[in-house]
Amino acid sequence: MPHKIISLISVGRHPQSGRARRSDQDGRAVELGLKLSGSQLEVVHAGDSEEPVLRQYAGMGLAEITILEQDQSMDAVASLSTYLASRDADIVLTGVRSESGESSGMVPYILAEALGWPLVARVADIVEIKDGTAEVLLALPRGQRRAATVKLPFIATIDSAAQEARQSAYGPGLRANMVAQSGANELDELRANWSEAPAKPRPKRLKMVKAKTAADRFKAATAKPAGGSGKVMKNESTEEKAQAIFDLLIEEKVIR
């Protein structure tokens, strides 16, 4: 039985030019969706059906994109959760966070909560779906992966380590069908209270690398941080675990 996969897409923002574009991680979410279910993939966007960027997604070979038509000031979560609840999907794929707007990364979590589904964060690949479970590779820092088995249905956020989105072709993108239906009309109050200003570049914390050779520098950049500062606590009591986290936060001056 083919699985029902839905990829959620948003309007991205190019880091250099600030121009609207196919968002990098959402593009990867579509790419993974295409790998899993080919032309069966459903791609959904909450926003404006006239948005030209949607054509860039469609150029990946999508016959149509479903648009939950709504104004920019409206909350995408409301539209999406209503829609997803009606679709009986197995897996919903999204980027980790959007490239524009609040970019809080909360959308997948709120959706998961609304649907009562588990959320699998930072997925690099979904290897196989069988007997109602999916074999998932999670992305860890420095190119490492962790294998996990997840029961369907679930929401996955796609990490930048996942397969890159394929080239978008102009012709198919132009001809794809934009299937619009009206979305929910719920004002995004949080967003409405925000004001946007260009970020000030913050000074970076310098990491001193005392490497003398190129090989050393390479190691410093790629190797797992070794040493005793990390601790795996499995058998300790909950209080002990909490205390350890608390101590760390104080040590790192997160709380005073």
Binding site: Q16, R21, G61, S168, A169, Y170, G171
Partner: protein
Amino acid sequence: MVIDWLPSVLIVALLALGVIGALRRVNLWRAGQPEKVNLIAGLLAMPNRYLKDLHHVVERDKYMSRTHVATGGGFVLSMVLVLVVHVFNVQERIVAWALLGALALMLIGAFFVFKRRLNPPERLSKGPWMRLPKSLITFAVTFIVLTLPAAGILPEGTGGVVLIVVLSIGIVIGLGELLFGMGWGGPMKHAFAGALHLAFHRRPERFGGGRSTGLKPANLEGAVIGVAKPSDFKWNQLLGFDACVQCGKCQAMCPAFAAGQPLNPKKLIQDMVVGLAGGTDANYAGSPYPGKEIGNAKGSPTEVITAGLVSQETLWSCTTCRACVEECPMMIEHVDAIVDMRRFLTMEKGETPNKGSEVLENIIATDNPGGYAPGSRTNWAADQNLAVMKEKKEADVLFWVSDGAFDMRSQRILRAFVKLMKHANVDVAILGDEERDSGDVARRLGDDATFQSLAKRNLATLGQYKFKKIVTTDPHAYHCLRNEYADFDANGALEGVEVLHHTTFLNQLVQSGALKLDAFKGGKVTYHDPCYLGRYNGEYEAPRELLRSLGIEIAEMERSGFRSRCCGGGGGAPITDIPGERRIADMRMEDVTETGAELVAVGCQQCTAMLEGVVEPRPEVKDISEILVGQLVEEVH
């Protein structure tokens, strides 16, 4: 005598069969897309185009041009007279003698064709082409003997039935090749298709010494963008493919072929012929695409070309250097065809290889191929004190900087050019951050949508300001601005504006005395013609004159001027990066080294990058403006 009638019946029969075949062939071309041509004017112009333009190209090979005049001219004349004498039975002796003269001329020509075919160079196709001189000779000899009685040299009826039978066999062989073969796809097809191709050429501006090198805009509204199947070509492009004589002149000049990349322009055109007629390449008797066997390609007018006829790597190997087009005696347009097929791959399939997709995405999102912040485009000029059009609004010269602005090596060229202009007190301004990529790379990579969008946006910016000239150091931007933007310039932003390459402009400054230069005292110097300056725009002289004005005697490479070999940097080739056995830039550097030069002068940032990418030791590479700057006479105040 009983079978006296046989020769004339045979002539008429073969003529009729030839005509039927020709009509069938015409139908194959008509499967292509409509394209308006002026039928009458084209046909009327055809003889002149043949005699002047085509022969201008053939003339580069004196042996072949004379041979062709004798054979072709002799044949056309004899064919007309054969009909007069042997079919309509005109009994005038003088006509018979004229026929004998024409046949003799043809025989001499055919003999020289025969001689060339004794030990043919690799570029020539073999197969049926090897039998052509024999058929030509058979034709000439047969009709000479057949005409002798009419000319009064032999009495009527000499030789009796036996001779008539022998001559009839000669007629079948000779006319079979020349008339039947012409219509049914034999080697002589080139005469019939070639003549019509000259009449209905898609770029009539090329005739009479003109130049037409800008690509035609893609129709972005069609059901399919670009060329997927042979029938997606314009009908006169298909006709053009059919005109190929398989002389291999294009193959001999193609840098990608020489580098062992899987491209041979002759084979490509022949594959297009296979595609338009349907079938396989099994009968192709020329050099293959390097590394690919012959016999596996098959296609038809309605089958996708890259699904079995031509591989994608073949199409991406081309640097769009136009060496093949320049060399082709039949004036076939290889580059148009290649880009047409690339358009399908990029805009319909999204299959631009290697870095292609990334570069295109960058161009779309940032208006430059490197993906740099558009607001950093003018960083290179922070210390140059250059006027920006946004503030100045008006200047004599608009300096089109191009994407070299983002590249540190190219910035040296830009700075040198600015210094020269300042020295000559040129009233100049740049667009600054308002400038965008010219669209050259996007267009050559098949993304005409992006090219058109860039062209329109650049033109809208240009339209806001007043200037008399645009000068650029980048021949690719030069080509776009000069030859390709006009198709989108609805508001006349470039009307009356002179678009110049910096070498042309600098030469004007030097000749008018605005720039004073010292003699150059370095070693031997050679000059590399950039394809997009030379073959695309016909500028061979200005750079040379500039070098001469420094007292440099240019040690010319064997392949220079219109025969210059590409550096390998055009057409997005470094981006698609199709592997071969050698690198084109290395081969070009060998050409340079052969002259013994210590310095190679170029006029293009891309050529500079390609040639400097060759491992040392090698001659130094400098843009002409960099050489000039070194020789500036600084005035002491």
